[in-house]
Amino acid sequence: RLRDLEAVLQQMEPFDKSLQKIDLEQYSTSPHIASRIIYTCATSYDDIDGKMVVDLGTGTAMLGIGCAVMGATHVIGFDADLDALNIAQRNIEVADVGEIMDLVMTDVSRLPVRRCQRV
């Protein structure tokens, strides 16, 4: 299953180098690393299946999509960069997790989320 997860994430589009923004500190999390992080969360900590997940600074949605694939019921990805979010949207479509993952464009240091719902 780790292999399957990695296979899905390998189809993901990374950041467009020409559009990367230095002041936003954007790094592509490689499919190799992303799949192992998510797989560990899912299996060693049971943190993914049936849960709602928030991906702060989702970028290309690599990690969020990994969560969706591993059984999260709902994932919300927050990011300030529209170029990254456009890639994220395409990735979500390719991974076919559109019914599970939502995107919100915002500044994650000023998260417009009401207090009692900070997850």
């Binding site: 919300i76 939502d102 009401r114």
Partner: protein
């Protein structure tokens, strides 16, 4: 579900929740029902806000909060309605409006721009 969490971050606004929904384009995408998840979420979401938001997205099936007691919360029919409102209704294009300042946050292709 995202709408139930989002609030306005306009400076100086005291009560920026909930955002008022102005829908231009709504999409319904069915997803897998998980009773345990819905039971858990019922304790965390603002139900009244959910019901009102659902109405503004043309879904009128949720009962008024006065009718929602412990029995109802366990009822699968009810849970499926909550599931539908929470997870299946997607605002593709429109605006989320700050209730206090009136500032609209545009939603395009399903992504709200809260910047």
């Amino acid at each position: 579900i995202t709408h139930n969490m989002l609030c306005s971050n306009v400076k100086g606004v005291q009560n920026g929740f909930p955002l008022r929904i102005e829908a231009d384009n709504i999409e319904i995408i069915e997803s897998e029902f998980d009773s345990e998840f819905i039971s858990m979420m019922l304790e965390k979401i603002d139900y009244e806000v959910l019901a009102a938001a659902a109405v503004s997205l043309e879904y009128n099936e949720l009962p008024p909060i006065a009718d929602v007691n412990e029995n109802m919360k366990q009822d699968e029919q009810f849970q499926r309605k909550v599931h539908h409102a929470l997870l299946d209704i997607h605002l593709q294009d429109g605006r989320l409006v700050c209730p206090e300042s009136g500032r609209p946050y545009p939603v395009k292709d399903g992504i709200p721009n809260m910047l």
